[in-house]
Amino acid sequence: MERLSVLKNIITILKKKDIKLSKILIQKVIFFIKELYPNHGFGYRFEMYKYGPYSHELSSDLDILKIQGEIDIKGNEILINNDNDVIDNDRLTSFVANTLLPLFKDNDDFNTIELLGTVLYCIKALQENGLKLNKESVIQEVKGWKGTKYDDTVIGKAYNRVINLVDSGWLLVDS
């Protein structure tokens, strides 16, 4: 399935689950898929910006879907125009619906979504740069980006949620 079809399918899955599709949620869900799901089919590059990891290319693809009439973007919300069926014959559908969505619970607000994305970014950045990776180093790194916006306990809880989600094979945490 080509990139745009996968993206459209994910948006459809979220819609079928009655999830409010904010721009930040789409950005972070796709970021989690890119980092954690094998053969995701996305080449998006995510960089750390004001509200956590963000991809220009993903934003451009959303614009393309809008031009194609598949979605509408109203303010910060993404609306699906066509009532497509989910193509649910692959593991990705199951990963999004059963593994990822419970992380972004319905009541998660903007800040929590931002924090979860930031925590995963920091984990991967420490890992990619060959630096010590554990709960403490992630908390310090998140504080480096976010200053005093989140306290240690809140970051620690977000870290636990992210790390619990991940198969042990994907993230290696130093003891």
Binding site: K50, N129, W145
Partner: protein, 431 residues
């Protein structure tokens, strides 16, 4: 301070450059430049087939890479001079060395003819930045120089993450200089490409722009007094994009080149082995030979039989952009016109990707909102009277245009034989 820092990094060699006069280099940088994989960049053109529009656009990614090294150095030195937060640090020379290596290597993974071939040959999941990252981490001659210079195994991860990856907060500043909105890469290609093409689109007040930044409370900010220089760079980029990479003739040749490469995919040896969307290995001997000349040899080989090759050889007329409208993204009229035109061509028996080629390009004029459009704010702050204020609050001209003018370019190109039919269809559709 600037002189001290430059003295500390021990600049020994220099090369002439039309924009900077001399570009000064360290011994280690020269060792990297002298590797076959870096020399390959001499044979990758900076602007692909833009030379079919602007004949002098013959410069390479090699000179651009050197230019980014110099421009990044200039931005860094000004940043240090402007920022009390920064100029007390005692490892500035090490930071500068890291920045310069990342700048020098930022384009090392470009494929032949860059963007025209990358989608086809790398697929959806890989980008040239991933190739750069792999080369920096694995190509022995580059690894050797970096490890010798820093004596720290994590340097390979750091330089590659500055080019294409996730950085830790400590290096965010360097990342912004290498690949932010107001980075050395964009600054150099705007002034270099416009200078060499001989166009005014892309020119801006680069000397003032370079000194426009300051670090305050750990953030990379814009100095209020320099806001106009930053705005001018953004406007210049928009004009440049419309007149150089998105130029309708250039875009027509991009389509032809992409289609040719797509057809010849099986005959092309890049040296890059992929598996499940990841690079497994690169055969460097093959990769070094995979340059613009390699692709053009292939074009020559098929010039007798392949229409795309004939167009690229200028032995057959270029594709004609019969339908060419740039309009506000919200404008339904042109979207409908475009759709009806395509339908009309098909009903006249014209086949897509044989007789006609369509392209829709979405352009956010200033592209700043995209940086953090989750809350419709800019990611950048302006420092005014010791306060950090959102860029859009300080620059209504950027904010206004970013919000109002999202545009779409609708283009349909047709083969030489079909111009008459296509023009008639367009006339019918318009009426």
């Amino acid at each position: 301070m600037s002189e001290d820092l430059l003295h500390k990094i021990n600049l020994k060699h220099r090369m002439r450059d039309p924009l900077y006069g001399f570009i000064w280099l360290t011994q280690e940088e020269l060792e990297i430049i002298d590797t076959p994989i870096f020399q390959r960049l001499r044979r990758i053109s900076q602007l692909a087939l833009t030379k079919y529009v602007y004949p002098s656009a013959e410069h390479s990614r090699f000179v651009h890479s050197l230019g980014v090294l110099q421009c990044a150095t200039n931005i860094f030195l000004e940043l240090v001079r402007n920022s009390e937060d920064l100029n007390k640090k005692d490892d500035l020379d090490i930071l500068l060395k890291k920045l310069r290596f990342a700048a020098l290597l930022h384009d090392i993974g470009h494929l032949a003819y860059s963007h025209a071939s990358e989608q086809t040959l790398l697929g959806d999941t890989l980008k040239h930045e991933d190739v750069s990252k792999y080369i920096i981490q694995n190509y022995e001659p580059i690894k050797h120089v970096l490890l010798k210079c820093f004596n720290d195994a994590t340097i390979l991860n750091l330089i590659s993450s500055l080019v294409a990856g996730k950085v830790i907060k400590e290096y965010d500043l360097l990342k912004k200089i290498i690949s932010g909105v107001f980075d050395a890469d964009r600054a150099d290609y705007l002034i270099r490409d416009s200078y060499i093409c001989g166009v005014k689109y892309g020119q801006f007040d680069v000397e003032r722009f370079i000194g426009s930044f300051i670090v305050k409370n750990g953030q990379y900010c814009i100095r209020y007094e320099h806001l106009n220089a930053v705005e001018l760079m953004v406007f210049a980029r928009y004009q440049y994009n419309m007149q150089v990479p998105f130029h309708r003739t250039r875009q027509g040749y991009d389509i032809v080149l992409s289609k040719f490469i797509e057809k010849q995919k099986e005959n092309i040896q890049t040296g890059i082995q992929k598996q499940k969307g990841e690079i497994v290995t690169i055969d460097y001997d093959t990769f070094v030979k995979f340059d613009d000349y390699y692709v053009f040899e292939l074009i020559k080989k098929f010039a007798g039989e392949d229409n795309f090759a004939k167009i690229l050889m200028r032995d057959k007329a270029k594709l004609h952009p019969v339908f060419d409208y740039t309009c506000n993204a919200e404008n339904a009229y042109y979207k409908k016109l475009y759709e009806q035109f395509i339908k009309g061509l098909i009903s006249e028996g014209l086949e897509e990707n044989v007789s006609f080629f369509k392209t829709v390009k979405n352009v956010k004029i200033y592209d700043l909102l995209k940086i953090s459009d989750e809350q419709n704010e800019s990611d950048y702050k302006v420092l005014k009277d010791d306060k950090l204020i959102d860029l859009f609050e300080m620059s209504p001209v950027l904010f206004g245009n970013t919000n109002a003018n999202e545009m779409i370019i609708y283009r349909v190109y047709v083969d030489d034989n079909c111009i008459g039919t296509a023009k008639k269809v367009l006339q019918d559709v318009i009426e």
